[in-house]
Symmetry: C2
Subunit: 89 residues, 2 copies
């Protein structure tokens, strides 16, 4: 079975040409008991707070994708880190 | 191109039979500038602190995988959430 890290590797070429700094976070929650309230939306807020300690990102630079089905929820955060301004001078 | 959420979906069957509650977190950091110090190991600690607010997990229940190559780092956290004890009585 392909591991998740292999997935990241096989999808490398598409982004290498752009050479933007990016941070991608994925959270998958498999639930054994249905009907529990989800904590992922709240978790998402806290994760972003943690990330903001390390990188300076606008809300605009963050794409969020949240999906939910019977027994699994997934949260995907894609963050494009602003270019270092000194690189353009 | 297969999206990351599709990846989670296609790998669903393997875990459905076990029906454990699991939380998986992936962080991929593509760096535009090489040689910067990595903040992922520190970020990992903080992410786990946030997660512990929501679920009660032992250090044993957490598998961490950190990989680094030229322009990408990936951090994978796999957490098996302990069964609710009331389920076994």
């Amino acid at each position: 079975m392909m591991g998740l890290l292999d997935y990241f590797k096989t999808n490398k070429s598409s982004s290498a040409s752009i050479a933007k700094e990016r941070l991608q976070i994925l959270v998958a929650h498999e639930r054994s008991v249905r009907g529990q309230p989800s904590y992922l939306p709240q978790l998402q807020k806290e994760l972003l707070e943690v990330i903001r300690k390390y990188i300076d990102v606008d809300q605009d630079a963050i794409t969020v994708n949240f999906e939910q089905d019977e027994d699994r929820e997934t949260l995907e955060l894609n963050i494009v880190v602003p270019d270092n301004p000194t690189k353009h001078t």
